[in-house]
């Protein structure tokens, strides 16, 4: 059996052993319910308060502005649905982008079926939001702008500060899905004029099933889960104490290592991109060349289909992902790749590789060698390639 080469860190990351270590006592020793009055539960209350503080500090926020959730998807759902409901009297118009995660897009579609209007602002060929179009989309009844901090598929980092300023100038709330960015890029909610921010622990070597939503003081929002006084009555349910303890540790580690990790990731990723672009013909790099997450590489290989590529890479122990229709469970390839203008048949041949600082140069070289081999094999099998080569030959 091959050794696993994990290059899907945008899907999830390895839980840091130190994080696991930080969680264990909250299963074994400190298993009390944080809401109970007795002394036995004090360590649970403490670790929750501590986590809130660590996270708030990392964002330039206040601890009571951090609300724990079950993850990024819940945070996005909460931010958008509860805000829409709370500000309905002011207006029923929301602005978002065409390349958001489905947690945002499907939530917006849900609201559209319930009388809200949503404008999906376009992005350019690199996946950068068209800020001028955003400005034009603003109406007197616009209550919320939701734009992701960085895209999960192509890694493009959005002009969040500019968008935040526009939202602020127009007195509109600004939510950002920072699931791919938090713990990877420095974020300051005041500097960027962010009113709400979603995050998920497992994208930064924390545990799965825990996230948070930052909600700026003063924002009206409805309770999302009813049934308890937890999270200032806004999100009922006994806290995921081990998860929160793990999140705390993950954020501490991520903040301390951010620069160093980014440098390592960038070195690996740049090598990967340089070799693939130089050695595999008819390939394009998706996403912005410079303004992108340091761990992200996204390619489109012409004439081949992504799922085939993934299965063959899997055969070599390489974990990656694709925006092809076959991997999305529908007939359409990734909405993100279509939004940046890729034709369907090229979007089907996409491959996303997201590195971590734990990967090595040797792994990068091995992966490129395998990609070259597999892409060649699939092209030899492809009628599209056959037609293309025939056309080339006839000139």
């Amino acid at each position: 059996m091959n050794q696993t080469i994990y290059l899907d860190n945008a899907a999830t990351t390895r839980t840091n052993p130190e994080v696991v270590k930080a969680m264990v006592p909250y299963f074994t020793e400190h298993y009390g319910n944080p809401s109970s009055v007795y002394e036995f539960s004090t360590p649970c209350r403490q670790v929750i308060a501590g986590a809130r503080e660590v996270i708030a500090k990392s964002l330039g926020a206040k601890p009571n502005e951090i609300y724990f959730t079950a993850g990024g998807t819940e945070s996005d759902n909460w931010a958008i649905k509860a805000t829409a409901e709370a500000y309905m009297a002011k207006g029923k118009h929301i602005i978002t982008s065409r390349i958001e995660h489905h947690a945002v897009l499907h939530t917006c579609q849900y609201l559209e079926k319930r009388g809200f209007e949503v404008t999906y602002v376009d992005v350019d060929e690199n996946g950068v939001l068209k800020v001028d179009e955003l400005k034009k989309a603003i109406r007197p009844d616009t209550v919320l702008i939701s734009v992701m901090f960085a895209n999960n598929e192509i890694g493009t980092i959005e002009p969040i500060k500019e968008i935040g300023q526009i939202a602020k100038d127009n007195d509109i709330l600004f939510h950002t899905d920072a699931v791919q960015a938090f713990g990877h890029l420095p974020i300051d909610v005041d500097e960027y004029h962010i009113d709400m921010l979603s995050s998920s622990a497992h994208k930064l070597n924390g545990p799965k099933g825990i996230g948070f939503l930052y909600i700026r003081t003063g924002i009206k929002t409805r309770s999302f889960i009813h049934g308890g006084a937890q999270e200032r009555k806004r999100r009922g349910g006994t806290e995921n104490v081990p998860g929160i303890a793990g999140y705390k540790k993950a954020v501490e580690l991520a903040m301390a290592s951010m620069e160093e990790r980014e440098k390592k990731e960038r070195r690996l990723r740049d090598h990967l991109i340089a070799r693939v672009m130089a050695e595999v013909p008819y390939t394009r790099l998706n996403g912005h060349r410079m303004r992108r997450l340091s761990n992200n590489a996204n390619f489109a290989f012409q004439f081949i289909e992504g799922e085939s590529l993934l299965i063959m890479l899997d055969g070599s122990g390489i974990c990656a992902s694709s925006g092809s229709a076959c991997t999305s469970g529908s007939l359409d390839p990734s909405h993100v790749l279509l939004a940046i203008g890729l034709p369907h048949e090229i979007a089907h041949g996409s491959l996303r590789l997201t590195v971590s600082a734990e990967n090595t140069m040797e792994e990068m070289d091995l992966v490129v060698d395998r990609i070259k081999e597999i892409v060649g094999k699939l092209r030899d099998m492809s009628p599209l390639y056959e037609d293309f080569m025939r056309k080339q030959g006839s000139f």
Binding site: I311, S324, G329, L384
Partner: protein, 145 residues
Amino acid sequence: MYTEKVMDHFQNPRNVGEIENASGTGTVGNAKCGDIMRIYLDIDDNQVIRDVKFKTFGCGAAVATSSMATELVKGKTVQEAMEVTNKAVMEALDGLPPVKVHCSLLAEEAIHAALWDYAEKSGIVIEGLEKPKTDISEHDEDEEY
């Protein structure tokens, strides 16, 4: 997600390639949907499929069904080849995930398209063969909300 047979036919596909001056060729599918299959048939004077080759752009199941379909029609008469249905292809592969059933339909259609081309070129009629559709797509996305 895939059976061992599907994986085998995907990783070691049989009959990949082209046939120069083929007796019949057929291309079906749609790059937009992510699947294109092309079948080449070499048919002798007794209407026996002497050789068959394919090229496919598509997912693992698309490649595996093409490969299996070519195996099933090889050495058969054109009339016998008509019995190679998508069900036969699926059974021979020990099944496909429900979302991949359309790949087997595409394989059947590709064989039919190549047979149709052969029939037209040689001026014969193959019983039960209808003019192939050039584009196959299924749109049965479920309602979510």
